[in-house]
Amino acid sequence: MLTKRFDPLKGEMLQIMDAEGRIVAPELKPDLSDERVLELYKVMLLTRAADTKALQLQRQGRMLTYAPNTGQEAAQVGSAAVLRETDWLVPAFRELGAWLVKGVSLEHIYLYWYGNEWGSHFPENVRMLPISIPIASQLNHALGLAMASKLKGEDDVTIGYVGDGGTSIGDFSEALNFAGVFSAPVVFFIQNNQYAISVKRAVQTKASTLAQKAVAAGIPGIQVDGNDLFAVYAAVEEAVNRARAGEGPTLIEAYTYRLGAHTTSDDPTKYREDDEVLVWQARDPIKRTKEYLIAQGLWSAEQDEAQVAEYEAYALEVFRKVEETGEPQLEDFFKYTYRDMPEHLKEQYQEYVQYLEGKVK
């Protein structure tokens, strides 16, 4: 078991592919076909293209606030890739790659960041919760989804995402602890990107790893190289299998880095050195996976360039569609508070419509 072999209390971290795309632990490499690896790599590329576009559009004043994912694509894509369709994915707010793997359309995602609630209305078959802004609170929903699967006798698994900052808030400990007690089929996945806005990981906790927080709940925990697609996949696969077999929850810390800003309102030069960023750029998960694929003869620099261009064009096209959705329906703001609109909301809505009509006249 990986969680036995890599003890976070001893500072051990699972790595399978190094920063140059070389396989350093072939015996641990997950059993993925070349096509599947390429497929996942392409989602990583799309994730980055969507990021790049969103940032451009935001600077043009067309997109609103946006939380970039650059640098974290392997952690996101590698983790969600393990799930099957009936498994549940519970996001925090910075897992674009994971959502794409889970089948959410880029249109939904852009629509959300564009400030429209319909961006969180996913199709029936996409088992993903909406973005959760209150940090770590979503982990208890992951617990609940998993508990329901278990109590219903279904073998679906839930994965819940959280950031390094999120491990400090009570919900994190509570969710892990409940999951341990109930042997809930859930995987808690930390994207440790070293920052909570400006607050460094070292200020977040004195624990030397975040994976060791599993000890408090008596559940297995493991730290993995979060920029290594294979390591992430392998650890999540083991955890998901364990959960599916009724053996309870796992905590996974993906050690990664946010190469961009916290959100488009953030200026990271205020709190970190360029040198640090350079170090992590060399560990870029996309670069690394690309080098692996090229070395395997599965991909080329030219194909890569063309694919990136295609995805950027696609992202722009999707955004244009989103822009064209225009004004949201006024009634929607009132309609979804309860199943049936109560009388006082009908009144508020109607009075407002009347006011607006009066203004137009």
């Binding site: 209305h121 909406p130 329901a148 919900d171």
Partner: protein, 325 residues
């Protein structure tokens, strides 16, 4: 039909609905093995097994957050918070998620869940065991809040709550958990959420209240009736979204309005009812709409709590002032 008190009715109703609908799961602190500190869930674990009724670790936020996930994934969770004063650790889950999941997803994900809790005071309990949360919860769009005042109502309202597709807070006045018994039908029946009940018709003044105070207000009304003051008493039953029409209609008839509640006065639930009466029946008002409420203080420890809670005499005095205005 059986004679039941309020807490045994809650127990009977949970049993009834767990038998009928296997999606219903019941949990909370001390809810399983012990059957709840008030014995509201006694016997349920034995009857339905520990998958349907179980104890949780001590963490209200996780209890409510877990209920959110369960409700999304096909169950109908009925969670217990041991006392309403221990709801606060779950307040983030309540405001940020319980209230909003439907709207946030434009109806894609809904939360058919119930949070039950003992509510209000007057039982000589320790600090934090006497809280009234109507406006703290009622201010949040998306929540439904129900407070029964009798065993009969408790069954009908709790069945409605569990079957409701929206999250419902079911606040059980602990003071009257065992105060009296009533005939409660064994059969299935529901009482609609959102409808108030006129418990006493009258012409002189409209008195709105709910929960344990319904009984004190009724006592006051009887006192007043002896003096020739004929009060109309409305049991609000649902605090959110509440029955505005029932109140407005009654005030249009009586021209006078009193609201009686346990919660603190300022920014409390009574203020809302007075604002409503102003908005909808201003021209009918013959006296200032009035609040008889808790003081704006922390509810005292047992030696002093009788000062905080209203009794029939004080209520009668307050109503008398409004009638004699």
């Amino acid at each position: 039909m059986a004679l039941m008190n309020l807490v045994s009715t809650v127990n009977h109703t949970l049993d009834h609905e767990m038998a009928r609908d296997e999606r219903v799961v019941v949990f909370g602190e001390d809810v399983g093995v012990e059957g709840g500190v008030f014995r509201a869930t006694v016997g349920l674990q034995k009857k339905y097994g520990p998958d349907r009724c179980f104890d949780t670790p001590l963490a209200e936020g996780a209890i409510v957050g877990m209920a959110v996930g369960m409700a999304i994934n096909g169950l109908r969770p009925v969670a217990e918070i041991q006392f309403s004063g221990f709801m606060y650790p779950a307040y983030n889950q309540i405001v940020s998620h319980v209230a909003r999941m439907r709207n946030r997803t434009r109806g894609r994900l809904t939360l058919p869940l119930v949070i039950r809790m003992p509510h209000g005071g007057g039982i000589k309990a320790l600090e934090h065991h006497s809280e009234s949360l109507e406006s703290i919860l009622g201010h949040i769009p998306g929540l439904k809040i129900v407070v029964p005042s009798t065993p009969y109502d408790a069954k009908g309202l709790l069945l409605s709550a569990i079957r409701d597709d929206d999250p419902v807070f079911f606040l059980e006045p602990s003071k009257i958990y065992r105060a009296f018994r009533q005939e409660v039908p064994e059969e299935d029946y529901t009482i609609p959420i959102g409808k108030a009940k006129i418990v006493r018709e009258g012409e002189a003044v409209t008195v709105v209240t709910w929960g344990a105070y319904v009984h004190d207000v009724m006592k006051a009304a009887e006192q007043l009736a002896a003096e020739g003051i004929d009060a109309e008493v409305i049991d609000l039953r649902t605090i959110a979204p509440f029955d505005r029409a029932a109140i407005v209609e009654s005030v249009k008839k009586t021209g006078r309005f009193v609201v009686v509640h346990e919660a603190m006065k300022t920014f409390g639930p009574g203020a809302e009812l007075i604002a409503l009466v102003n908005e909808k029946a201003f021209l009918y008002l013959e006296a200032p709409p009035t609040r008889l409420t808790g003081f704006d203080i922390t509810i005292p420890l047992p030696r002093g709590e009788h000062h905080y809670f209203l009794d029939a005499d004080r209520i009668a005095a307050g109503i008398r002032d409004v009638v004699n205005f």
